[in-house]
Amino acid sequence: MNEANSVLQAFVWLIPFLPMLGALAIGIGFISGKNRGESGENQTTLIANGTALLSLLIVFAVDLHAIVIGVPGQLELAQWFSSGDYQVNLSFNLDTFALVMMTLVAVISVLMIRFSVNYMHREAGYQRFFMIMSLFMGAMLLIVMSGNVVLTFTGWELAGVSSYLLIAYVYDRPVAVKNATRVFVTNRIGDAGFIIAIFLSFHLLKTLEWTEIFAGSSSLTPLGNNILAASFVLAAIAKSAQVPFAPWISRALEGPTPSSAIFYGSLMVHAGVYLIIRLQPVLENSPIIMSTLAFIGLLTVLYSFFSNLVQTDVKSNLIFSTTSQVGLMFFSCGMGWFELASWHLVLHALWRAYQFLHAPALMHLMDRKTRPVHPLLKRQGWLYTASLQRFWLDPMADWLLVRPIKSIAHDTERFDEKVINRLVGLPEQTTAITSIADWEMQKSISQTAGLLSKDQPVKGWHSEAEKQEVSRGHGFAGKLLEGLADMLFWFEEHLVLKSGGEGLLKLLNLIGHYLLQIEELLSQPRYLMLLILATFVVII
């Protein structure tokens, strides 16, 4: 058993990392110019398919191992990083559910990548597409296999990045890239929940390993357990597009069909459900969170049912029915039927993958008229509008979050320019001479102007008008220096100039020049000096 486990340990980490390495290899190939263009398609295909297949083979080997010898369970391979008592391992939790999920993800991913080879042929971003797909496959496998919270989060985030890249696949279409940004930022809110969950597991349970979190959750206070469960649930509902995060998934349809549809419809939306099913021991200790979960699931079912009724294209139809199915899974989890939810998950993922692959072909074969308005919606006009508007979830988010943040940003910018800048730094750059070089330029211009018009006397070095122009004092320190400069100027003119020689005059002129320069520099940050003075006063 031990020996078999050690063989397993040597290979199991390859399952998620092989596709990622494949993605890296395609990326390097593209950077070095080795696989660009149509001629590079073969090489790209080989890498993407090869790594995916190899990964699938190892998955089968692990499955076989599980059937023959027994389920491997928790495997700790190495330490990833540590600081103080915060230690993150490279560990995998291969219980029966993880084994099923990992097989499912690997099979669907391999099929998806294989299917795309023909579908994407001669597309401009061929290499990029397969890089994203390989990265996504690795990320999904990491989510279902990982043995600790941080590693799951790693897969979680990488899946988010690959989804961004896929939605923005046609990057010169403004709608596509705008949707990609929106989707990523929405998911990021869920990620914040995940980070809080990581912290709570570390802080309350002193562990990051899933098995120990499940074991320790019963020892937590109800409040601690509720918060822990709520943070995970936040992450899960954002990833699985539940209300109120539901709108992102319809934006995600921008990617190249049908692979991207599988990407979301069959794999990524289920990541949240997977997390929830995993968390069964934690959730069972928090009845409040369980009922919230059921409620959210139910809301999502209603939301997607009505929104679906008014959709007229097959892709939107399918994606809304996907969300409603996922909503049902959340509902079953909330009711405590985790076993049912896991069955539902697996079967639904398989069924959707099949359906999404067929959808475009179906459209070719069938010539169907637009569906009439559903009788229920016909009777209730407001419901029809609401469904068409998808219950205003997107405008609501805009109104509640996006717009306030944008206006706060503009206000802050004005505050930064008008208040902070003036308080800390220099005067407005347009109103003052900022350096001696600028000043010299102005002087030379005025001198040439004076030379050109002979009737006006040429302004001297120390003519009154120019002195005022140059040595304007600002603030306390500035005024003080101005007074000092005036005194020195008087000294120079009355005592030294009348008795001194030519050389001294030049030297003094030079010194005066520098003094004026220094004075000019010092006169500006008036508030700054005041601030420092104030600090001294406060401290002493």
């Binding site: 990083f81 103080g84 990488l158 890239v177 930022v185 902070i420 220099l426 750059q429």
Partner: protein, 528 residues
């Protein structure tokens, strides 16, 4: 009044030196390697001065920077990770009448800044290879001087020596901005920067002198350090081993905090950074955002010299940190210029580092240090890349860009990777640092930690929004449609930075192992 405090309070904080974890050992290598590191670059400057060939200057500069990288790598590889104290210490008399010695040495906190600084400067030299057309000799001389001063800051173990290098950075920066800046108001920016930094120097010097006088007073009344009575102490290790009296600690804490806050920059003293990013050359912007000397100063001097005060005012540090995180992030949202956006995002990231420091835990400090190393690679790298873009399109304003990914796919891809590292996506070095900081901040300052999470969501929003507007979408401008993608030299340089970003993201223990000993020592110093 201060003098009275010193005399009356010193007995309270009297501790035996054996309690203090900071031990000092002498150089493990026979020869003064850190001094050689400091001498190589000015020496190269002299050679550049002697040659009349303008084109040779860049080669000499590159060779000198590479040698300094090699020397710093030798230091890193012969560094003893198990020793939490200072290593490679060299001591020479400098100003005996004031008891100021030339003391250099490194520990786990400062050591990694040496190779990363050298690497950043190599990157800058390579990125300026053809783009500096006027006075290349002077440009490279100033650049090497700046590198010398920066390395000097990291190795100094004497407060006056540190201050000397600290102020020395201003001269090259001023001239680099006014001569090679790209904005119309570069002179204004250069003056602003210099003035702000000079102002920051005042409290810094005052704080160092106050600490030195305190020791002079100490030894008068009762010598427990073995130092000759009445001598000023600027030696960092001696200062560490003899904690200051409580009230003086508060004064010194605020003086040093203020001094370093200017350079970090901490809100509300950040206004010079956007100005420099907009007006200065790409190289200076890369240095300003890549090397956060102010945050280093906080870790090296402010907290260890005034540990009790720092713990009393942890809320102030955390407050400044979280204000910076949110303020920078919110401001970055409304920017339409890539450089300005990155400047504000840098303010936001520094806020996170300050939060990490304020949590006073091993994870927080190691995360903060990790994040400071990341800046060199990520912020430095992204500004170098922006320099390439600016060189091609003449602008980093989103209106004059758009669709960059179409004609320059490599540039756009690398910009995205750097951006992901800035967002802290797993697989990049940014994730490890952010993760460590957040976990410890959520524990010590839960409210600030949750607010920082908001900042992280905002970070995704501002980065992706501006990325979408500048790099994606249809090509709208002729400059963009005719521009060339990265050339081989530029590609190699950017790839090098990216490889390190990913390597440190996948094998973070390389860095964490080096900083571990010193960080734990730093924490123990606070707890003792």
């Amino acid at each position: 009044m201060i003098a009275e405090t010193i005399v009356s309070e010193w007995t309270i904080s009297e501790r035996t030196t054996s309690e203090i974890m900071i031990a000092s050992t002498d150089s493990t290598i026979g020869f003064p390697i850190l001094s050689i590191l400091l001498i190589v670059l000015p020496f190269a400057c002299a050679i550049i001065l002697l040659t009349s060939d303008q084109l040779k200057a860049r080669w000499i500069a590159l060779i000198a920077a590479t040698i300094s990288l090699l020397i710093s790598l030798i230091v890193v590889f012969s560094f003893d990770q198990t020793n939490p104290g200072f290593q490679f210490i060299e001591r020479l008399p400098w100003i005996p009448s004031l008891n100021i010695d030339y003391i250099v040495g490194i520990d786990g906190i400062s050591i990694l800044f040496l190779p990363l600084t050298s690497l950043l400067f190599i990157g800058i030299i390579l990125s300026s290879w053809n783009s500096i057309r006027s006075m290349p000799r002077l440009f490279f001389i100033l650049l090497l001087l700046l590198e010398t001063a920066t390395l000097g800051i990291f190795v100094s173990l004497n407060t006056i020596l540190f201050f000397f290098f600290w102020e020395l950075t201003l001269i090259p920066i001023y001239f680099l901005i006014i001569y090679w800046g790209i904005g119309a108001n570069r002179r204004y920016a250069a003056v602003k920067y210099t003035m702000v930094m000079m102002a920051g120097g005042v409290p810094l010097l005052f704080g160092f002198i106050l600490a030195a006088f305190n020791h002079a007073g100490l030894n008068h009344t009762g010598s427990h350090t073995g130092e000759p009575a009445g001598e000023l102490v600027f030696d960092y290790i001696t200062l560490l081993n003899n904690p200051l009296p409580a009230e003086l600690q508060t004064t010194i804490f605020f003086l040093l905090l203020l001094g370093f806050a200017f350079k970090a920059p901490i809100f509300p003293l950040h206004t010079w950074l956007p100005a420099i990013a907009m007006e200065g050359p790409a190289s200076i912007a890369a240095i300003m955002t890549g090397l956060k000397l102010g945050a280093y100063g906080l870790i090296r001097f402010t907290v260890p010299l005034a540990p009790d005060a720092a713990q009393n005012y942890h809320w102030l540090l955390a407050g400044l940190g979280i204000t910076g995180v949110l303020y920078g992030a919110v401001l970055a949202v409304s920017q339409t210029n890539l450089r300005k956006m990155l400047a504000f995002s840098s303010v936001s990231h520094v806020g996170l580092v300050i939060l990490g420091i304020a949590s006073f835990s091993t994870q927080g400090l190691q995360g903060a240090l990790f994040q400071l190393f990341n800046f060199t690679l990520v912020a430095g790298g992204i500004f170098i890349l922006l320099g390439f873009l600016h060189h091609r399109t003449g602008s980093t304003e989103v209106v004059s860009l758009g669709g960059v990914a179409k004609t320059m796919p490599l540039l756009a891809s690398f910009f995205f990777i750097f951006g992901l590292a800035g967002l802290g996506v797993p697989g990049t070095n940014g994730f490890i640092a952010e993760n460590l900081i957040l976990v410890s901040v959520l524990e010590t300052h839960t409210g600030a930690g949750i607010a920082a999470l908001v900042g992280i969501v905002l970070a995704a929003a501002y980065f992706l929004t501006i990325y979408q507007r500048a790099f994606l979408g249809p090509v709208k401008n002729d400059v963009v449609s005719t521009a060339m993608d990265l050339r081989t030299r530029e590609l190699l340089l950017t790839t090098g930075f990216c490889v390190l970003i990913i390597i440190f993201g996948i094998f973070p223990n390389i860095i964490l192992d080096i900083t571990r000993g010193a960080s734990e020592g730093w924490i123990n110093l606070l707890k003792s």
